[in-house]
């Protein structure tokens, strides 16, 4: 049974429909990433699960207990839901020391002071904060503050933890370390974690499952591999990874395959869900790493000849920008290229046609 289940949740804020029927389930040991552009309702969903926003319809179940059900008028207050919540701003209480911040939830539960102290110390130790208990939040670095926020959310042993962009306040280097640390922690503690992020690479790295929110609905949900390799809509394809997007006219369509005409070129590719009709305008999308720079002259199927405009060195690879009539294409390649025209291969199984 799911440890967290949300069904058809709907929220209106300030007269606007923010969530228009969102469902998800989550089990222990799983990390689900809520991904989506800014303003898509990720934070709102997380806050609604915690009881900090008021949905008008839907159900929320935590560990088998219904904490919200619009139709039945069930609405448990936030404090009775027993969730862990890590705020984007960390929300550490500035008037309490680290140890007091972490101990607060234990105090609320009437735990004996010496047990409190031991539990807090154990939690701080496990997060590498062992010696910082007496400090105040403003005396900590960003990364340490983030860990305190996590310690505070976990110390009373909630099964379900909600994290709102927990890594967004860290600088790029620290963020990668924290990402690995967080994933390991969630697996070790066997938690069910729902984590908001707007960064697709972070979601791919940390999550077992990704829900892509767009305009208040789940656009697509699936494993990171599915989301990345088999996007169902143009929005998902564009959101995940770095893409080339080429406009053209749909020329043919048959059993999952389609062809699109761009200028003088005819590209074959995979037809995605609900594609445009033959004769209409359509789009071809291919990831940067899907484009191959073909050595030597080659005029075969799905090959195009474009001029190299500029090149950028990215460290682990090069990115080249090509342009020709009706299309601009960026491609990854492991070395520099000479200026002038080059043949590019856009393999039909890497081209998605929408």
């Amino acid at each position: 049974m799911a440890d967290l289940a949300v069904d058809d949740l709907r929220i209106r804020l300030g007269g606007n429909e923010i969530l228009k029927g969102v469902s998800l389930t989550l089990r222990r040991g799983e990390v689900a990433a809520l991904l989506g552009p800014s303003g898509s309702g990720k934070t709102t969903l997380l806050r609604a699960v915690a009881g900090l926003e008021q949905p008008y319809a839907g159900t929320i179940t935590v560990g088998g207990t219904t904490v919200f059900e619009g139709a039945a008028g069930i609405n448990q207050p936030t404090e009775a839901r027993g969730l862990g919540f890590v705020f984007q701003s960390y929300a550490l209480w500035p008037h309490r020391t680290v140890a007091e911040n972490v101990a607060y939830s234990l105090k609320l539960r009437g735990i004996a002071p010496d047990v409190q102290r031991d539990t807090v110390q154990k939690t701080l130790d496990s997060l590498g904060l062992g010696k910082l208990g007496h400090r105040f939040p403003h005396e900590l670095s960003g990364g340490q503050q983030q860990r305190v926020a996590i310690a505070r959310a976990l110390v009373y042993g909630p099964t379900v933890v909600l994290l709102d962009e927990p890594l967004s306040n860290l600088d790029a280097k620290l963020r990668e370390e924290a990402r690995a640390f967080l994933k390991e922690l969630i697996e070790r503690e066997n938690l069910a974690a729902l984590m908001v992020t707007h960064d697709q690479s972070e979601a791919l790295a940390i999550a077992n499952r990704i829900l892509l929110l767009n305009g208040g609905v789940v656009e697509q949900a699936g494993t990171p591999q599915e989301m990345y390799n088999a996007p169902e809509t143009l929005f998902v394809a564009e959101f995940m990874g770095s893409n080339n997007h080429i406009e053209g006219q749909i020329m043919g369509m048959s059993d999952g395959r389609a062809s699109i005409r761009i200028g003088d070129h005819l590209l074959d590719g995979q037809a995605r869900c609900a594609p445009a009709k033959v004769g209409q305008a359509g789009s071809a999308v291919i990831r940067l790493e899907g484009v191959h720079v073909a050595d030597g002259a080659n005029g075969g199927q799905n090959h195009v000849k474009l001029d190299l405009v500029t090149s950028m060195f990215l460290g682990h690879t090069w990115e080249h920008l090509f342009r020709g009539p009706g299309m601009t294409i960026r491609a990854h390649h492991d070395g520099p290229l000479s200026s002038g025209a080059h043949w590019l291969h856009l393999p039909a199984d890497r081209v998605w046609i929408f």
């Binding site: 915690a50 207050p77 936030t78 701003s89």
Partner: protein
């Protein structure tokens, strides 16, 4: 679910009690104004008689006219003066700005009554300055007991209110707006006229309405400076009306109060509207730190002298006069100052048991009472905190109503409420009644102080307590209140200053056990006890100065 409901019903109860607290006096006044006799008189009947009587009184219309002219006149003086002070202080390289800055706000905290006494003992008919002037220069060219003196003094003493809003608007004006105008080719003068001034117009408009509104409220200045010539404004007319018909003429007083409220209430709502507009302009906070000040060149020192002169004339002169007068046994033409210097006034002061209890009561009501008031304001603010409900909008309007009641009116209203409500009657002659009146008069102000502290608390800090398992009340107790502690302390210091200064609110409640410095001074002035009045005024100013110093030391922002 249950805790959420419990929290909500507590909020509702607090708001309902607040509404009762605010509405009871107003409803009682309204009721009284439609009676033919005081409400406790069994023969009292519902009628419009009192309205007809008051509206047929030429004195009433004269007082109304005088009030309007006073309000217009002091607005016409305060707004340009305050705006000029603000411009010089925030936008120019005038010397001595750091020294002048805290001094400019002093008149806001001084009792206008005390200032009026100061003017009387310095430039009144037998004031120090007048007497010396007569000795060396002949007849003085001024008459302090004239309407024009009243307007000028009221205008000068109220300029800091304008300065407060104009300067904060000017300060928050992003420098790049002006620089952008400079870059396109405008000279500094043009920039001031085309950019700076239009940008602070909302603030000036707001302070103009505020001064006009305060003009309808002033009591101390016209009581002291207008009375000898029979010059009455609405508030002093009300005060004089107390015994008009030989018996307490409550119904007539109630009608005058209704008129005052009818004028003040729309002004309160206009102010609220204008303040919103003004804040929208102020909210455009630029990150750029202003470095370019307008160079005054040859005008630097004249500008400084202008402000220093204003301060000397408006604050220093009357204060020094007061202090001096409190140390002489008598004063008049032909008296040598050295001969009359004495400490007796202060020594005798402590033989007067009424005076002693006034001082003790003032201290008690300011410190303990002030703290209790802040406690009440905090409870009301918390009841509205992070709650979207029609109740909160209702409370927003309710708490503004007392602002339409000048202190003297609120004091009278509370006096009546205590008289009217049998269970409260025994408390009418205790300090508790005075405290209730003070708390009512300053409700909107004190609430705003607490609310602005609450605004600083990030919502996630409270939500974080909720998710870890704290109920609404617990989260407020453990997170919200500790986080606004400093704000509450600052609010308490400001309320303390205001309670020490307050004089008109306690006038009707004055009696054995309820005397405070302010109301006692009003009554003793009526009896001509100038020695005691000047001594008490000096003590009052000393207490306020002490409080101001502590507040400044603790870094309290003097404007909420």
């Amino acid at each position: 679910m249950s805790t959420a409901v419990a929290g909500t019903s507590t909020r509702r109860i607090v708001i309902a009690v607040t509404a009762l607290f605010v509405l009871a006096p107003i409803l009682l006044i309204t009721y009284q104004s439609f009676l033919t006799a005081p409400f406790f008189d069994p023969k009292a009947q519902l009628s419009l008689w009192a309205y007809e009587f008051v509206f047929r009184e030429p004195d009433f219309w004269r007082a109304l006219g005088t009030t309007a002219m006073l309000a217009v006149g002091m607005t016409a003086i305060s707004v340009p003066l305050g705006a000029l002070l603000a411009f010089l202080m925030t936008r120019t390289d005038m010397p001595g700005r750091n020294v002048l800055e805290p001094l400019l706000l002093v008149p806001i905290f001084l009792s206008p009554l005390v200032l009026a006494f100061g003017y009387v003992v310095t430039i009144g008919p037998v004031g120090f300055v007048t007497v010396w002037w007569k000795q060396y220069l002949g007849n003085p060219v001024w008459d302090i007991y004239s309407f024009s003196s009243l307007v000028v003094i009221a205008g000068l003493t109220h300029a800091p209110h304008v300065y407060l809003y104009a300067s904060s608007a000017l300060r928050s004006l992003p420098g790049d707006l002006e620089e952008a105008a400079r870059v396109t080719g405008a000279k500094p003068g043009r920039v001031a006229m085309d950019v700076s001034l239009p940008m602070i117009t909302p603030a000036l408009l707001f302070s103009g309405v505020l001064i006009f509104f305060l003009g309808f409220e002033v009591f101390g200045l016209p009581l002291i400076l207008g009375d000898p010539q029979g010059l009455l404004v609405l508030s002093t007319y009300l005060y004089k009306l107390t015994n008009k018909l030989g018996v307490p003429s409550y119904q007539l007083m109630a009608v005058v109060v209704m008129v005052i409220i009818a004028v003040a209430l729309p002004l309160v709502f206009v102010q609220r509207l204008l303040l919103r507009t003004a804040q929208r302009f102020i909210a455009v906070r630029g990150k750029a730190v202003r470095t370019n000040l307008v160079a005054l060149r040859a005008w630097r020192w004249p500008a400084f002298l202008l402000i220093a002169g204003w301060f000397a004339g408006t604050v220093m002169l009357p204060m020094m006069g007061l202090v001096l007068r409190s140390f002489v046994s008598s004063w008049g033409l032909g008296i040598n100052l050295i001969d009359v210097l004495t400490l007796d006034n202060y020594i005798e002061l402590f033989d007067d048991s009424e005076v002693v209890s006034a001082i003790i009561n003032t201290l008690a009501i300011a410190t303990i009472g002030g703290a209790l008031s802040i406690g009440c304001y905090t409870v009301i603010a918390l009841a509205q905190h992070r709650w979207t409900s029609a109740w909160v909008r209702f409370a927003d309007y309710i708490v503004m109503l007392p602002r339409a009641m000048p202190g003297i009116v609120a004091g009278l209203a509370i006096f009546w409420v205590f008289l009217f409500t049998k269970p409260l009657a025994p408390l009418r002659t205790t300090l508790f009644a005075v405290w209730v009146a003070y708390t009512l008069v300053w409700l909107a102000y004190g609430l705003r102080l607490v609310q602005s502290a609450l605004l600083q608390v990030a919502p996630e800090l409270e939500e974080a307590a909720r998710v870890t398992g704290a109920g609404l009340g617990r989260a407020m107790r453990d997170v919200t209140i500790p986080l606004i502690k400093h704000g509450m302390l600052a609010a308490w210091l400001l309320i303390l200053l205001i309670f020490v200064r307050e004089y008109s609110t306690a006038v009707y409640l004055l009696g054995p056990g309820t005397e405070v410095i302010g109301s006692l001074v009003v009554s003793r002035w009526g009896g001509g006890a100038i020695d005691i009045v000047t001594c008490l005024s000096c003590i009052n100013v000393a207490l306020i100065s002490l409080g101001l110093l502590v507040a400044l030391r603790l870094g309290v922002k003097l404007h909420g």
